[in-house]
């Protein structure tokens, strides 16, 4: 399959979520990419917190957990796994400390979402802390996962077999994902309420998987954008193939 021609087509596309149709993949390769997107693409996440003051209603550890889950923007090119960036938070009540209040020492690494409430502070309560974010992979800890609910389905081809018999009952035919019609049109099933009998009323249809065509659903937590995540995931597999080759040669 070395002469494989890949065809990549975005069905829906946003900064943080997309549906991508990729043709020419083997199932093993598709799953490799999926797994790599979840576990092998590194992102920054707060790992160590030093509390100067915490008079809030939450324990240090609880705040530490919440801080770790805040997604941080990650320009992967500029950093290596294990690199650290320091962030600081200093908020006094009354009021709420938001993720956007975190001040980063590195402008490239900052909270991807600014409105995540970290802790509500009452009159006289105060939180002051210093936190180290570290670049690591989802394999190490789930908070480092860049991809959220990454998965794929086969592209399904719908063929009209003929008309429904005169006295046959029209039945709903529920399908989820993306279909390819006979004239090659790519249609997400949302377009007809996931029901084939809506799109082909009175027709007898058959559905089959298209070999080698996978529709990936990719969503990120904001630390990297979708294209970056896919390309990086493919990159980690490539790195390992290269590593294998050099190790064999030795």
């Amino acid at each position: 399959m070395s002469e494989a021609d890949f065809d990549v087509q975005y069905i829906e596309r946003d900064d943080r979520s997309a549906r991508v149709l990729i043709r020419g993949l083997s199932p093993a390769f598709a799953n490799g990419i999926r797994r790599a997107m979840i576990a092998d693409v590194p992102t920054f996440s707060i790992d160590t917190v030093r509390f100067v003051e915490n008079s809030s209603v939450m324990f240090d550890e609880m705040l530490g957990l919440r801080l770790g889950l805040v997604p941080l923007t990650t320009p992967i090119d500029d950093f290596e796994i294990g690199d650290e960036v320091t962030l600081a938070l200093d908020v006094a009540g009354p009021g709420t400390a938001y993720s956007g209040d975190l001040v980063s020492s590195e402008p490239l690494v900052e909270p991807a979402d600014k409105n995540v409430p970290l802790i509500e502070l009452k009159e006289g309560q105060r939180v002051e802390l210093e936190a180290d974010a570290v670049l690591d992979t989802g394999k190490e800890h789930a908070k480092h996962q860049g991809g959220v609910s990454v998965g794929y389905r086969h592209l399904q081809r719908v063929t009209v077999e003929g008309d429904l018999g005169e006295f046959d009952e029209e039945e709903t035919r529920i399908l989820r994902g993306v279909i390819e019609t006979e004239d090659g049109e790519i249609v997400p099933t949302e377009a007809f309420d996931h029901d084939l009998s809506e799109r082909y009323p009175g027709k007898e249809v058959s559905v089959e998987d298209v070999p080698g065509a996978f529709v990936f659903h990719v969503e990120t937590d904001g630390s990297v954008d979708v294209e970056e995540l896919i390309v990086r995931a493919i990159g980690t597999i490539e790195e390992r193939a290269d590593e294998l080759r050099t190790t064999i040669a030795v």
Binding site: L69, D113, N115, K122
Partner: protein, 64 residues
């Protein structure tokens, strides 16, 4: 106590939308389902995080 930062099941960041959800669906009188649709919280695992959450900071703060 505070809205969880991420959905327990899928890891999507739901904390981001809490303030708006609270203002519109809890304190306001909009339909929670429509607000969630509007905010782009569309998986039911993430939706239950918002719908079933109660802020308890006010309840525990006297016992500091």
């Amino acid at each position: 106590m505070m809205i969880p930062v991420r959905c327990f099941t899928c890891g999507n960041v739901v904390g981001e939308h809490w303030d708006e959800f609270k203002a519109r669906a809890r304190e306001g009188d909009e339909d929670p389902g429509e607000v969630l649709d509007d905010l782009g919280v569309d998986r039911h695992c993430c939706r239950r995080m918002m719908v079933s959450h109660t802020d308890l900071v006010d309840v525990v703060s006297p016992y500091q």
